[in-house]
Amino acid sequence: MNQHQRVSELLAVYRDLTDAERREVEQHIQGCPACAQKLAGYRAMDRDLANLKARDQATQTALQPNARLSRSLASPQTTRPRWFGWMAHVPGLARQVAGIAALLLLTVGLITVFRGPPSQPGAGPSIPPTQTPDPLEAFATRVFEPEATPSVEATEIYGHGTSATPEPELPSSEKIMTICFAGEPSSLLWPQDDLVTDAAMEAMQEPLIDALNYGYRANLVEKLPSLADGDATLQEVTISEGARFVDAASDRVLTLTQGMTESFALNQLEGEPLAIQQWDGSPLTTVQQSAQWTLIEGLTWEHGRPVTAGDSVFAFNMALDPNYSGPDLFVAERTATYEALDQRTMRWTGLPGLFDPTFFINVWNPQPSHLYGTLSWAEIQRDEQANRAPLSYGPYKIVEWIPGESITLSPNQYYLRGQPPLDSVVIRFVPNDANQIVAQLASGECDLGLQDAGFEESLPLLRGFEEQGLLRVETVIGMVFEHLDFNLQPAEGYAGAAATLRDNQGGLLFQNADFRRAIAHCLDRQALIDQATNGGGFFQHTYVPANHPLHPGDEAITTYYGVSPDTGRALLGGLGWTDTDGDGLLDDGAGTRLIFDLATRQNPLREAATQIIQAQLRDHCGIEVNVQMLGAEFFAEGPEGPLFGRAYDMAEFAWLTDAEPPCNLYLSSEVPSEANGWGASNSTGFANPAFDAACAAALNALDPEEKAARHTEAMRIWTDQLPSIPLFARAKITVFRPEVEGVILDATNNTELWNIENFDVNR
């Protein structure tokens, strides 16, 4: 055999060459273009074969054992380890405690296991298959057994890794990542508006624009449109009889008609909106916005058909279907036109009068018009594929969905950013039990546990695992912040403390800012965070967290309320509330004690938080609080619901912050009342004209500096007046195994799977 022939044969196994063979091949192909070409051909051949495999597996129906095999598999040999059943059948809280106890036991045992078993040499960890292992022993063995060393030395050549065989467990060279969800989506039909569906759909239909780090980033469009670049416009238009427009005062869509009796306002290019009490029929001027986006070239559905601007327009048209209801409906209804300019370019034009500072995100994620273009929304809602296996243009596509168990994804060979690193992603459902997910992360059954599990209660345990190098725990300040609202404007007929307790000037106590400031000083919010969230919360002073780009810095917020019971008591004394009878509780000296209700929606975190608040107010300042744990009725609309019906004293719940600081939550126009149909957010009843002006100016500002300055002003007024005490931002917590790579937890993106195309496992 001459050298050329020998090298030719070596090329056929190019992934498995020894160092000497690799050197020989490299030297030879330098002078042999045909050999280089042959090598490229072999690599292409393997890529084609791998693609064929992906397709074969994707087109198969899930294989179930037949009767004969089932009988064999059902024998005792195949039963799950006892600990599994034991964990699965211990109910509720007892199971949590038992789960944590078991894991703590294992953590303690970990050091022993790592130092080596005390048994005789040669006693390996393997358990004969016919023997049922002891639950904890089996768990410990699987969790803590060191990784097997590959039996063949790895050879990296020509860009391909080796498939040297680890042994004895899981020898597959396939890269499979198991992501564990606490909840299972009911459907994957768009629009997605819950955490689990959002997370799952990142793999198949990632958004055209990503919300990242309190801002927006073009993801699958070439850029975000802007006025400066000319791909967005803001111009003056004239409207007349029959025109549909957006009322600047109410955000409602109205039609300009002769004889209309409603008053309205029209946004103007400069200055305040033009207020119209009654239209006299003459033409009116207002603003109109437009913007356009171009899809990145190469965006392709999983079967090879290009994703087009028409697919995006189709999704917009569906949003206007009478049966449709989704978060995009608000913008859709305020859209004049949304059209495809060419194969990849869409243009949005808002209705006259609409002034939307975030116009650049008013684009619709594409949906396959070639599949559903002839169907109504009601028909699509009944379509099996649309619900269970939506067509992908993302990094992965659905192979199968086993209800109650898992969704399996395989790479989308048409993904425009190339083949993702993983051969398969399995989304497993581990319902509503963070401890089960922790156990399965520790045992390797899960590679990544999502934030929806609610890891707050397990944080100390997780930190222990992290210290041992078994798991990684990532936390970031989330967008959800818990706060304590005061009822400044009790509804008519409400007879609770907020409507009856008075200061020494005769005013309602809850309307006095010094009372609210006193409560803030009486609280130790850091202690509350430490105790209620196991340290999984972040202190914040206002309605945006400290890491928000528009947080002005503590020094710019003039009022800071540190823990200071003496200050709190002094402020309360100034309002006529002291301990006159020496019982340790404050009273007004006329027989009325300082007692009020603290209502919240029942859940473990809020139960803990409100009880801590109750204890702190009593112990620090002599204030008696009755905690009311309410069900779903807590958030019911007014006038029946206590919170939005303004029939409460103090309430603890959460709001979401956003890229735009949510000052609008506290506008006087947002106080829920009969006039606005009780459908508004400002349950505190806070009404401050200076705050309203600063907030409105901030929300409407297009200039970033102007926006920041106005938000700072609004926050300064808000923290001074303190209609609500911010408690803490909930941390987003995700947990994954050390071999998982690519997970980046972002403050504003709803899911940690936003960059799933980069996820890898390095086993």
Binding site: S8, D46, L52, L73, T78, V152, S163, T165, E169, G304
Partner: protein, 163 residues
């Protein structure tokens, strides 16, 4: 590892592998059941098996080859166009379909002795050592067969791909 777990993890890829050897999904599914029944019957060997995946594929290869022998199709396996027609890809671009069909036809025309190592190496990313274990042949024989398989595949594919 428990046989049920093995089935859960590997039944799909094993079925796909067998399909590429026998050219018939229905038969491939039946044979996959057979494979895991044999795995179950030999489960006492699992703990001593150095490479479980290669071991399972060795059983799969034997089962598939036995089936081929039974069907007297050792020499040449015709492409089953009826299966291609049944696949739900109404909107795949024609050139992509053509290319895939050419690859599948070229693969189907290789003798099973060459098709099996090429599938295991190129389709599943096995190492030479694993292929040797799966097919119960020497590593030298794997290298020779792979080289011949690749050359034959290339020639057939080029012929298939010609308009």
């Amino acid at each position: 590892m428990l046989v049920a777990t093995l089935f859960e993890k590997w039944s799909a890829p094993v079925a796909a592998y067998i399909f590429r050897l026998v050219g018939d999904w229905e038969l491939a599914h039946d044979l996959t059941q057979e494979v895991f029944l044999r795995v179950f019957n030999n489960r006492h060997q699992l703990e001593s098996v150095e490479n479980q995946r290669a071991w399972v594929y060795r059983i799969a290869t034997n089962v598939a080859f036995d089936a081929l022998r039974r069907r007297r199709r050792l020499a040449w396996l015709p492409w089953r166009s009826d299966h291609a027609a049944a696949l739900p890809e109404p909107t795949t671009p024609p050139e992509a379909v053509d290319q895939r069909i050419a690859i599948e036809r070229a693969l189907a025309q290789l003798p099973p002795d060459y098709r099996a190592p090429l599938l295991l190496y190129g389709y599943y990313g096995f190492s030479v050592r694993e292929v040797a274990k799966a097919l119960d042949i020497s590593e030298g024989a794997v290298k020779t067969r792979l080289y011949r398989a690749r050359e034959q595949f290339r020639q057939v594919y080029e012929k298939e791909d010609d308009p």
